[in-house]
C-alpha cells in the first residue's frame, strides 16, 4: 500500500510528466490559455491515460509476450490508444452526452499526446504489474492536469503583460513555463523510498 502511495506522489510531483520528463508539452503549451479548457483537457487526458494504461498492460502481457512480439510494442500501443480514444468518443456521445459536451473536442487531440504513449511504454520498461500500471497512468495524468491548470492560471496574468515585441506570444509562454518549472524543481530533491528506484534512469 505504501509503495502505491509513493508511486503516486512521485509521478504527480517529483517526476511530473511535463516538468521532469517533457511529455505532453504540445497540449501543455497549446491548450492552456484559459483555466476551464485546461481543466477539460486535463480531465480528458486523465480518463484516457488511466484506461490506456490498463488496456496496454493487458495487450502487452497476454498478447505480445506469449507470441514473442514485444518489439512491435510501439505499433501495438499507438493502435490501441487510437482505437480506445475513438471508442471513448463514441461511447460518451451515445451514453453520457453531458461529459461528451465537456470533453469531446479534446479527445481527438489525445491520440497524438505523447504522454499517453509515453506512460504505456514506461509501464512496460519499468516492469510494473497491473495495479502499478494503472496507478502510474492515473497519477501521471493527474500531474499533467495539475501542471496545465496551474500554468493556465499563470497565463491569465500574461494578458496584462507588455513584453518586448520579439517575446510576444509563444516565447513569453515558454519563459513563463520556465518559471513554473522552477517551482516544480523544488520537489526534485525528494527521493521517496525504495520503490522510486529505477525511476531516475531516463
Amino acid at each position: 500500500m505504501l509503495d502505491i502511495f509513493v508511486l503516486m506522489l512521485t509521478a504527480v510531483l517529483v517526476e511530473n510528466f511535463i516538468f521532469y520528463r517533457f511529455m505532453g508539452c504540445c497540449p501543455f503549451l497549446g491548450v492552456s490559455e484559459r483555466p476551464d479548457t485546461a481543466i477539460g483537457m486535463g480531465a480528458a487526458v486523465t480518463f484516457v491515460m488511466t484506461l490506456s494504461s490498463a488496456v496496454t498492460y493487458v495487450v502487452y502481457t497476454y498478447i505480445l509476450v506469449p507470441f514473442e512480439l514485444t518489439y512491435l510494442k510501439t505499433i501495438a500501443f499507438i493502435l490501441v490508444i487510437a482505437a480506445l480514444v475513438q471508442l471513448i468518443e463514441m461511447f460518451l456521445r451515445r451514453f453520457v452526452p453531458a461529459l461528451y459536451g465537456a470533453l469531446g473536442i479534446f479527445l481527438p487531440l489525445i491520440t497524438t499526446n505523447c504522454a499517453v504513449l509515453g506512460a504505456a511504454l514506461q509501464n512496460v520498461d519499468y516492469g510494473y504489474d497491473f495495479v502499478h500500471s494503472v496507478v502510474f497512468g492515473f497519477s501521471a495524468a493527474l500531474g499533467f492536469t495539475l501542471a496545465i491548470v496551474i500554468f493556465a492560471g499563470v497565463r491569465q496574468r500574461m494578458f496584462f503583460a507588455k513584453p518586448p515585441r520579439a517575446f510576444r506570444g509563444f516565447p513569453l509562454t515558454l519563459v513563463a513555463a520556465a518559471l513554473v518549472a522552477m517551482a516544480f524543481s523544488g520537489f526534485s530533491g525528494f527521493s521517496l523510498g525504495n520503490s522510486a528506484e529505477g525511476f531516475f534512469h531516463f
Binding site: C25, T111, C114, P164, A166, R168, P171, A181
Partner: protein
C-alpha cells in the same frame, strides 16, 4: 531549371522560412527533452528525419489508395512501422545514443511534425517532392535542435560536443526550467531577426 528552383526554395523553406520547430512551433517535446547535448540533438534530429523521409515517401505513394476517413490511422501505422525500424537499427548499431535518447525514440511516432507533413504535404503531392519535403523539414528540425542544444550544452554542461570547456557548468540550463527558458529565448531571437526590416537587398526580397 524549374525543378531545380523548386528543390532549392523548398530547402530554404524547411530550414528557415517554415522551420517546423522555430516557426511552426511543432514537436516541442523532443526539442525540450533531448537538447542537453549536441550529440543527442543530432541523433534525435537525424532519426526523426529518417522516419519523416520514408513516411512521406510511402504516404505519397499510397495517397490514392488510403480512404479519407481512416487516413490518420493509416498514417500512424506507416509512421510507427518506420519508427520501430529506426529504433531497432539504433539499438543494434548505436547503443549509446539509443540509451541516452531513451523513450523519445519510440515517441517519434507522436511527433506532430511528421503527422503534420503527412497531412499537409505528402498526402497531396507526388513521391519525389514529398521525399524532398521530408529531407528539408527533417533538417530544419535538426537545425533547431542543434541551436537549442548549443546554448544548453555550453551553459549547462560546460562542454562543446563533449569537449570540456573548463568552467563550472550552470546546472539550471541542463534542467527542465533551463530548457523552457532557452527555447523561449531562441524563438524570441528568431522572431526578432525575422521582424527586422531587410536593408541590404531592395525590392525583390520584400516578403508579404
Amino acid at each position: 531549371m524549374k525543378k531545380h528552383s523548386f528543390f532549392l526554395s523548398h530547402l530554404k523553406e524547411g530550414l528557415i522560412d517554415k522551420n517546423p520547430t522555430l516557426i511552426q512551433l511543432l514537436g516541442m517535446c523532443p526539442t525540450l527533452a533531448v537538447t542537453t547535448k549536441m550529440s543527442n540533438a543530432i541523433g534525435m534530429g537525424l532519426a526523426a528525419t529518417a522516419v519523416l523521409v520514408f513516411s512521406n515517401l510511402f504516404i505519397s505513394l499510397l495517397r490514392k489508395f488510403i480512404p479519407r476517413q481512416v487516413r490518420i490511422a493509416a498514417y500512424i501505422v506507416i509512421i510507427s512501422g518506420f519508427v520501430t525500424a529506426v529504433q531497432l537499427l539504433l539499438q543494434a548499431y548505436l547503443p549509446s545514443l539509443y540509451a541516452s535518447l531513451g523513450i523519445f525514440i519510440p515517441l517519434i511516432v507522436v511527433n506532430c511534425i511528421i503527422l503534420a507533413r503527412a497531412e499537409a504535404f505528402a498526402s497531396k503531392n507526388p513521391p519525389l517532392p514529398s521525399l524532398w519535403d521530408g529531407v528539408t523539414m527533417g533538417l530544419g528540425f535538426t537545425l533547431a535542435l542543434l541551436l537549442v542544444a548549443f546554448f544548453r550544452e555550453i551553459l549547462g554542461g560546460a562542454t562543446f560536443f563533449g569537449l570540456s570547456l573548463g568552467f563550472t557548468p550552470i546546472g539550471f540550463f541542463a534542467a527542465a526550467p533551463g530548457a523552457f527558458l532557452t527555447l523561449g529565448c531562441v524563438i524570441a531571437a528568431v522572431n526578432y531577426f525575422r521582424a527586422r526590416p531587410k536593408k541590404n537587398k531592395k525590392g525583390e526580397r520584400d516578403d508579404a
